[in-house]
């Protein structure tokens, strides 16, 4: 009854002991995450002007991607899963983006309340 319209090959062969991520990789990822946490803290005490926040976000995003791709096994996932995840992100950005579009352009006309 199933229609496999994704990459059936990645999910089709049942049990996935083959997918089990090697210990070494898990440990390396963990160490990378720890290192990047240190980096986040360190860089926060360096004055980068307006760049402090973007750098912090960038590091956090790399960390998040590591967790998603390795820990959450996204690298084995079918395209549909990727689509789901990116859709979520896209709509979150939409929510923030359009709200901020209002907030940042409020003063442009120079008339209060417009």
């Amino acid at each position: 009854m199933s229609t496999h319209d994704g990459q059936a090959s990645t999910t089709g062969h049942g049990p996935d002991a083959a997918h089990a991520t090697p210990l070494a990789i898990l440990l390396v990822v963990f160490l990378a995450l720890v290192a990047m946490t240190g980096l986040t803290v360190w860089v926060a005490y360096v004055d980068l002007g307006v760049w402090n926040t973007p750098v912090a976000i960038a590091i956090a995003t790399i960390k998040a991607l590591l967790v998603i791709v390795i820990f959450m096994e996204m690298r084995f996932a079918e395209p549909l899963t990727w689509l789901a995840a990116t859709t979520g992100l896209l709509f979150l950005l939409l929510l923030i983006g359009l709200t901020m579009a209002d907030v940042t352009s409020r003063g442009w006309l120079g008339i209060p309340g417009h």
Binding site: A17, V41, I68, L95
Partner: protein, 216 residues
């Protein structure tokens, strides 16, 4: 693929284990999307207010303990590692490894919550809890109060997710200990893992956004 129909863990509405696995995984990811949107409301508020009152937010952020925050980040990352190990063990069919990984994750999760509770208590003592008794030693006390409102809302919702997550993991631990999972069937562990990692990711963002403002 056909022999799996013999296994009782394939629910009646599914044809086979592969279909079930596909459905369950997709379901969890869709659920995570809804979680993302839920936190999204708070992130929107954060972006708006932070951009409106940058100085007040920086000043207020100084009243958070960055060392504790960083330590807690490490604890949570550690729990993600143990969670990943638990999933790995379950994929390899190791019952002991799965139970150990899950238990370690729960312990680390509780440690995180403990530190969080300590921080909250401290905020109460300092009068940094929004409301009639809020007291902020500095300019722009009202905007600082806004920061703490967001702080409590965001970390509170996150902590709530941790509590739920720990509960789920506890159930999984019991199931694993009773030998309900095998190399053939371990969807629940994977699904629980996805949830736990998601909660971790939220914190990866919360930490710099709340604790490390204007530290330079």
């Amino acid at each position: 693929m056909s022999n799996v129909a013999a296994h009782s863990h394939v629910a009646h509405q599914f044809d086979d284990a592969a279909q079930q696995r596909r459905a369950v995984t997709l379901g969890m990811w869709v659920f995570l999307v809804t979680e993302l949107m839920m936190f999204g409301g708070l992130f929107t508020a954060y972006v708006l207010y932070r951009s409106s009152f940058p100085d007040a937010f920086a000043a207020a952020s100084h009243h958070l303990d960055a060392t504790l925050g960083a330590a807690n980040t490490l604890v949570l990352l550690g729990s993600s590692l143990t969670m990943a190990l638990a999933v790995r063990s379950s994929q390899l069919g190791s019952r002991g490894g799965t139970v150990a990984g899950l238990l370690a994750t729960i312990v680390l999760g509780c440690a995180f919550l403990g530190v969080k509770a300590y921080e909250y208590a401290h905020k109460f003592e300092e009068g940094l809890v929004p409301g009639p008794h809020f007291h902020f030693p500095g300019a722009e006390a009202n905007h600082a109060e806004l920061f703490f409102s967001l702080y409590f809302a965001m970390t509170g919702l996150h902590a709530l997710h941790m509590v739920v997550g720990a509960g789920v993991l506890a159930v999984l631990t019991v199931m694993a200990a009773r030998g309900r999972f095998s190399a053939d069937y371990h969807n629940p562990v994977e699904i629980g893992g996805l949830y736990w990692h998601f909660v971790d990711i939220v914190w990866i963002y919360l930490f710099p956004l709340l604790y490390l403002l204007g530290r330079h």
